[in-house]
Symmetry: D2
Subunit: 280 residues, 4 copies
């Protein structure tokens, strides 16, 4: 889940919605494995302090984390993202928890590459020494982020929306090639979001165009408020807007839009939501 | 789950059965709340060392506990018990994890008392100073164990099967009276086991005789072996026997027997299994 | 350590001072046992959200806590307190970590009562049911806080500075009597702070007037800023003031004042610092 | 610390000695940084079960680990090793805790390479895919073990004392060359032990022969018993022998022998202790 919009107390996003991320950590509804009990992480930006995001991570399940329960009602932010993990590649350890942070950038990933070990080594090879040594854990996700950062810094001078989009497309092409060259036939799923706190780029991608991608929704131009104890989405008022992109709908409201398969969703502080195809 | 019998590697009990306790920690089949992700504990006896049991406890979910995975294949014991917790009363903390140990005795509990706070204080009042201060956590379970120990030491000079049975009946009577006196109308569930490593007493008890008790099974006089990667129960051979008492069947075999409601199950090193009514 | 003053990024208090609390968690200078590695806790007020404080607690050592390192540079507050623990009474568990919170009040304690088990039970007896059941852990500190709250709510209608002071004096008198009645001859140390975010009351107290109390300092009417990577205390400027009360000096500056033995230190949002004798 | 000898309850090694490893985790005496509070790990062999060692690891300090306290008095073994960590390279995470295990082999390391990031990538390059992907953490230690295993499996068909010695020498030569080629001028310290439960090879090595190596002692041919609550070393009796190799003396006894700098210590089940120069 990623939120961008008017300042919000993160408790409203994490605990109050009917199908909140915390509830998803116990009973996810739209995926096969309903339990995401192998860790939790969140990141948020506090621009009055500086442009580096705060990150809070837990290898314990989100639903019983006392610090998280205590912090959520006290943190207000304009850009927030959170992730619950069901371990596939990599141990249950802090190094493997999303979001991953590199300086002022955050990344998180839902999906994965089967038999990632077959391409891990080759994916690391082109990395700069700095990014090579920056990797701390074992996940495909963190390695993909490192590769994407390497493409970003190699081919672009500044971090713009277009630069991140280009780095994504280069990364997906490279991953597909590496998978093909190393005998990975299963499709891979890349629902990924990268943000610098000022804009975010999300992807809903599957390497095999015949297969369905994992779900990814956005809710555009609406207010996100709590009424009668339930978080609801409302039509926007002046100066009080928000965009949410989520893997699972947080509420039963109808204004969730499925992002088309193999498309980007691009959102900035102006809360303009753009959707466009991924060329990879 | 409690096992008594020929020495067994605990991995065979924890991980290998089709519906093992570890799998139950993710997907329990016979109870309403299918997730027991709020901690794990196990105890076992190593009589060649001494008569105090070893205890291993984790506030993390059992399914991702690396130490547990590593220890299970190395520990061999004749008396083993294990518990997965779905927190009802009390935080997710080590002090609230079962089994509870007092000297050479272990206790664990499946069930609970609604609104336990209404009787907690009165339950503590008769305790000896030593037992009063021995309590470390917040659970109804630990308090019930302390009360039972107090009855045991007050009315009996030695820890025998009959003494423990008497202490159980006194405890259940006291609990029912306290509940009635303090306006707790909901039935309470006491599937409890107490052991000293030489015998164990289990209860399948509900305070309201109109209601069903939580399930509790035993499998008597059979061998417990692994074949084709699956743990199965076999007819006993000479000198290779075991008794298991469990909240949920570990296998699909037919030789699990439901213990009658409001009955004790009594098992000793000779592996005689007795079932008799609880007078409370 | 407790801070009240102009909004401050807590990183400046926790990590940057020469003898910061985090460094104290490894090498405390002014006490016998130099290691405080048995847990960490902090609380702070975010009045723009509500008057209940946030609490963050860790049973791991403060010095290696990744979440703490990440959160500290992002939290700005006008009232902050933090505590490192060297376990004396009570296990290393979350329930035993300071600060303790009751609604909008926080309390933390440096010191303790020898053989606390001898009076624990009697200290609980007068508590209201609510406070009795509110206690979660095993420490003398949490029990003393419950007793103080009980005195506060029994004898006062509102939480004022005078009410808290009176509750402190009643509590210390009760503790001294209980200790005397139950054969505890060793002196007890009560360096305690209680706050509601609007004012705080600290005590530097030892039950035996012949003995020295644990150290407690305040630094009054100065600014607290970072210069050349080192946090320093400066003479106040208009509208930029702060008061710090600490068990150990955070810096080598000379403007730390030792609070007299068996005295209160009383500080409110106006940053007036009053010191007065404890009548107990 | 590594122990090989008659079966011993590991509590006798971990907790009872005057300067036990657990005490060293708080106050190490012979090194600069006296605190080893960044994790603990131990491994032991249970040959009656199989030849793979058990491993128990904790990111919490050893001194307050309740499971460790409970397990230590119940585990009896003929080959035991334990390690306390003061984090230098790598986060405080389970993946970075010693001992590292590869199948039936265990390795632990005291020491390190300054600026390890400068050679990490090159050290990984020659690894087989399997060993490349086997690495889970960030430490120099785990990478060195992977390199040593790669040398072992490349140049030897079986795991013998001579094969391990050869792999050590190849590894140290490679490390020295990589360091020289990449501008690492600081000496590196490699006090390492590798064992398969049947023999162990320890090294006391520093890359710069002008510098002192970290301490490493052995105590040969003596019994290791507890008397008057203190663990002491005694002259051997028939069939009751043991060898200990440690970074710090566990007792004040005089029969600790410093292993010469840049030498191997080689010990097998027969408890013959050989010391010979490292050719690297």
């Amino acid at each position: 889940m990623i939120y961008m919009g008017s300042p919000i107390i993160i408790d409203k996003l994490l605990y109050q919605p009917k199908n909140s991320l915390i509830k998803q950590s116990i009973h996810a509804k739209e995926i096969e494995e309903p339990l995401n009990g192998d860790g939790f992480g969140m990141g948020w930006y506090v621009p009055v302090v500086n442009n580096e995001p705060a990150v809070f991570i837990s290898v314990n399940p989100a639903w019983s984390n006392r610090n998280l329960r205590n912090l959520a009602p006290k943190i207000s932010t304009e850009c927030f993202l959170a992730h619950v993990r069901s371990a596939t590649v990599g141990d249950v350890s802090e190094s493997n928890c999303h979001p991953f942070r590199y300086k002022n950038l955050l990344m998180m990933h839902n999906g994965g590459v089967e038999n990632f070990g077959l391409i891990k080594r080759k994916l690391r090879e082109p990395l700069s020494d700095e990014l090579y040594n920056w990797i701390k854990g074992q996940t495909d996700s963190e390695h993909i982020f490192a590769y994407l950062l390497n493409e970003l810094f190699t081919h672009h001078k500044a971090i713009s929306e277009e630069a991140v989009i280009d780095a994504f497309e280069r990364t997906f092409r490279a991953l597909k090639k590496l998978m093909a060259d190393n005998g990975i036939k299963e499709e891979a799923y890349f629902n990924i979001v990268v943000t610098n706190g000022l804009f975010f780029i999300g992807t809903r991608y599957v390497t095999d165009p015949e297969k369905d991608a994992l779900t990814l929704y956005h809710s555009e131009g609406s207010r996100y408020v709590v009424e009668d104890g339930i978080t609801k989405l409302f039509a926007p008022e002046d100066g009080d807007n928000a965009v949410l992109v989520v893997s699972e709908k947080l509420t039963d409201d109808k204004d969730w839009t499925l992002i088309p398969k193999n498309h980007f969703v691009i959102v900035n502080k102006g809360l303009n939501v753009k959707v466009r195809p991924i060329k990879a």
